[in-house]
């Protein structure tokens, strides 16, 4: 059997890849995708804990995570579209009006 540690390490690796993507990519849409990777990684560990502790709370929680992800993506992509209308770019480094 696979011990829980392996599931958690798997989840941590995915999460780190997500963080890496958010930090090094500049394309707003790809950054969003990397946020999705992070959320998914969290779901893996929640569900793995559920299975090893015989509970359902983690599954409910990952259900909520999915809801939040859906809401976040719909609003986020709407913002990206609105930005694209104004500046014709999705490069995060060029969107710096608020920077001083």
């Amino acid at each position: 059997m696979v011990p829980l540690t392996h599931y958690l390490i798997f989840s941590a690796v995915l999460f780190s890849i997500g963080v890496l993507g958010v930090l090094i990519r500049r394309n707003a849409i790809v950054v969003f995708m990397c946020v999705e990777i992070m959320l998914n990684a969290v779901n893996v560990s929640l569900i793995a804990f559920d299975r090893y502790l015989n509970q359902h709370d983690g599954q409910i929680f990952s259900f909520m995570v999915m809801c939040v992800a859906a809401a976040e993506v719909s609003v986020g992509l709407a913002i990206v579209i609105a930005l694209f209308r104004n500046k014709a770019t999705v490069n995060l480094d060029e969107i710096n009006l608020m920077k001083w």
């Binding site: 011990p3 599931y7 890849i17 090094i24 500049r26 790809v30 990777i37 779901n43 015989n54 599954q59």
Partner: protein
């Protein structure tokens, strides 16, 4: 059996996640992300969370990623990203990430040295089915469920307002 399924799935998911980060075109990233989500759905089935696995496919792979694809198509970002560079080297950020990863891994190993995590608990046959998860969702967790629905409503209104071309 579980070993034979888990490690290839995990490996493929991690590789696809890396491709998401290092792919040149956003479309390629999106396709790899869909693959990764399907891989994770497989992991969920392995963990007997059947309902969540199906939700993962319907919600993530079927709805959220279509939205991504739709926006990529709408903005026609095909060649936008051909020569992306890595952000300027930022020592603070890289070291912070390193510390974060080491911290997470240390905590994981620290927590799971408990022997009850060595093998999965014996679970009833109906573990993770629609029935059980649904019952829990509508009895113990009914307030979070309602709050989530309000969140989705707010997001819907927000998306419509933001993406509207002219605000009247």
């Amino acid at each position: 059996m579980e070993l034979l399924i888990f490690y290839p799935l995990a490996l493929v998911s991690v590789i696809l996640a890396l491709f998401v980060v290092f792919n040149k075109s956003p479309i390629g990233s999106a396709v790899c992300l869909i693959g990764m989500m399907l891989g994770l759905a497989g992991v969920f089935i392995l963990l007997q969370a059947h309902f969540l696995a199906i939700l993962q496919i319907i919600v993530y792979a079927g709805a959220i990623m279509v939205l991504f694809m739709f926006v990529i198509m709408l903005l026609n970002l095909k060649d936008d990203d051909t020569k992306w560079k890595i952000r300027e080297r930022n020592i603070f950020l890289s070291s912070a990430t390193g510390v974060l990863i080491v911290g997470i891994l240390y905590k994981i190993i620290d927590v799971t040295t408990d022997t009850k995590f060595d093998s999965p608990a014996t679970v009833p046959d109906n573990f993770g089915t629609v029935e059980v998860v649904g019952t829990a969702l509508f009895t113990d967790f009914v307030l979070p469920f309602e709050v989530a629905s309000i969140l989705l409503l707010a997001a819907m209104v927000g998306a419509v307002v933001l993406a509207k071309s002219k605000v009247d």
